[in-house]
């Protein structure tokens, strides 16, 4: 279908307010990172101003930002991989195999996501203390995989059940194992689902604050804890906070740009005919 001029116009009209609403705060954070605090509160709001980089230099020199960036990246990537592997296996298991009580187990998976994190953090702390995993990557990683996994499983069930059974059966007749079918056929067809699961697993870890605060000391501290630290007793250091937030946003944008080419339709096209 080719977009008609009328539809293109309507799309634009519908998108503009949404984009303005979505992007204005982002714009505000970004410009705030290049402003003095005085300029941030200027009245009328300043759209043109002389940018300063002091906020960035202060963040980069006053705190070991690069070290914390590395912590955040390692833990977020680990969370993504862990929850994708476990989520794909379990999602496929639920989508293709029924057993007594499978609906109840599936609901229980979701229930693990329903408790307030505030309540879980104390017993989790005690558990990790017993295991000697406080202030380690593993301690946070395990928590975050458990946060991300229920959504990954449920989402992937939805994408896997729609994969045509005939294709899978054909492959098995040709000698492919169950796991082979999953890797070679089901995953490519359900790719958009995996992309979404990956993005959200990454973000669960990347943005999480409470567990990172309680479980990490010096070694495994992640960026949200550092940024929240800029919210001092004397009030938030808006400039530095914005600068840190902008730097924290960049890896996510890169990840989404890389992943979004798999967010395309068409792989099911022609897979089943007749």
């Amino acid at each position: 279908m080719k977009p008609t001029p009328l539809r293109a116009t309507l799309t634009g009209v519908a998108l503009l307010p949404v984009l303005a609403w979505t992007l204005f705060p982002i714009y505000w954070i970004t410009t705030a990172s290049f402003k003095t605090e005085l300029a941030l509160y200027a009245k009328p709001p300043q759209w043109l101003f002389t940018p300063i980089v002091d906020n960035y230099t202060r963040v980069l020199t006053n705190i070991p930002f690069v070290q914390y960036l590395k912590n955040s990246l390692v833990i977020a990537l680990g969370t993504t991989i862990g929850s994708l592997v476990l989520g794909t296996l379990a999602g496929y298991g639920f989508a293709r195999f029924r057993f007594r009580g499978s609906e109840a187990v599936r609901f229980l998976v979701l229930v693990t996501r329903m408790a307030p994190r505030m309540v879980l953090v104390v017993p989790y702390y005690l558990m990790m203390q017993r295991l000697g995993l406080l202030d380690t990557y593993t301690g946070l990683l395990v928590a975050y995989v458990s946060f991300a996994l229920p959504f990954s499983i449920w989402l992937l069930i939805g994408f896997f059940v729609d994969v045509p059974l005939d294709v899978e059966e054909a492959a098995m007749i040709d000698g492919c194992s169950r796991l082979g079918v999953l890797v070679r056929i089901v995953i490519p067809i359900a790719a958009p689902g995996l992309v979404v699961a990956a993005i959200f697993a990454f973000l669960v870890s990347w943005n999480e604050f409470l567990f990172a605060l309680i479980l990490s000391g010096v070694e495994a501290k992640t960026l949200p804890v550092v940024i929240a630290g800029l919210n001092t007793d004397a009030g938030p250091l808006y400039g530095e906070m914005s600068a840190a937030a902008v730097m924290v946003m960049l890896p996510n944008i890169v990840m989404t740009l890389v992943l979004q080419r798999y967010l395309v339709k068409g792989l099911t096209l022609g897979a089943v005919k007749g």
Binding site: T22, L120, I227
Partner: protein
């Protein structure tokens, strides 16, 4: 549908991991909720049975918090779902600059929640906030965003929507992308209108994904803390005092039994809410999906 045997090897790793990591803390928390345990009086830890729960049941402040939390959740999720679905349908048709705009729309997800909320507080500020500056300039009034009880609830809903419409959009959009295009082509050949295609192809095939997006957002909104804490701290008065704000306060005061009881009640309320919603939406169709 294959027989059960091989399935367990797919399910076992994930489920064993999940239930070990999450159920142990939950059981601990449930156990503590039956005790009277105030951190200030460590010698006076007593088993009190359901006392903590009974106290919550008759506490007007807690009951009000349940109402506030439910209002916030319902409002936020409805707004986010409609906006997310609308955007997903819009993006399902190709248009120019689709890819860069798609990334731009996702940006709010990437802002650390605490920072996003802090910035919104600046934007909402009655004196120096940029929002009211322009609203006043264009003669659209001067809403007391965070200082009026009703507006405060609206404000936290708007900020939550700002943050999570991209989530709804992305989940539903990915669901749309894997629907077989042949169905829509066949329907178009048979002369179906856009509305008919949507009503009779998209909605039934996408029910599961849409339901999941609503459930996940629903349980997150019900447990939302960061945004509300930063924006209003539960105020003005008790206008935005949600269950999580009370929970935080109970922990802060060191009332461990009471705080854990609030947590367990939250879990039960969320579970019931999800269960009812799933039944209502999946059953009439005979659980055809999944």
């Amino acid at each position: 549908m294959a027989a059960g045997g091989a399935g367990r090897w797919f399910l076992l790793p994930g489920l064993a991991f999940l239930f070990t990591i999450d159920l142990i803390p939950l059981v601990y928390s449930a156990w503590v909720s039956f005790y009277n345990w105030w951190l200030i009086r460590p010698r006076d830890v007593r088993f009190v049975g359901l006392d903590n729960y009974v106290r919550l049941g008759v506490d007007p402040e807690f009951n009000r918090a349940v109402v506030v939390t439910t209002l916030f959740t319902a409002g936020a999720v409805a707004l986010e779902f409609l906006a997310g679905l609308g955007l997903a349908l819009l993006f399902a048709q190709p248009f120019r600059f689709l890819r860069p705009i798609r990334v731009l729309l996702l940006l709010p997800l990437f802002v650390v929640p605490v920072v996003g909320a802090t910035m919104w507080r600046v934007i909402f500020h009655p004196e120096v906030g940029v929002l009211n500056h322009y609203l006043t300039t264009f003669g659209l009034g001067h809403p007391p965003w965070l200082s009026d009880p009703t507006w405060a609830l609206v404000s936290i809903t708007l900020v939550d929507a700002w943050r999570t419409i991209p989530f709804m959009f992305l989940v539903i959009y990915a669901g749309l992308e894997v629907l077989p295009a042949e169905l829509f082509e066949a329907a178009a050949v048979d002369g179906a209108s856009a509305w008919q295609s949507f009503r009779h192809i998209t909605v039934p095939l996408l029910t599961y994904i849409m339901l999941l997006a609503v459930l996940i957002r629903g349980m997150d909104a019900f447990r939302e803390f960061d945004i509300i804490f930063v924006l209003t701290g539960g105020g003005p008065g008790t206008a935005t005092q949600t269950i999580q704000i009370l929970n935080y306060r109970a922990f802060g005061l060191g009332h461990m039994g009471q705080a854990n009881a609030i947590g367990i009640v939250t879990l039960v309320l969320v579970a019931v809410m999800c269960f009812v919603l799933m039944r209502a939406i999946l059953r009439p169709r005979g659980a055809a999906q999944a």
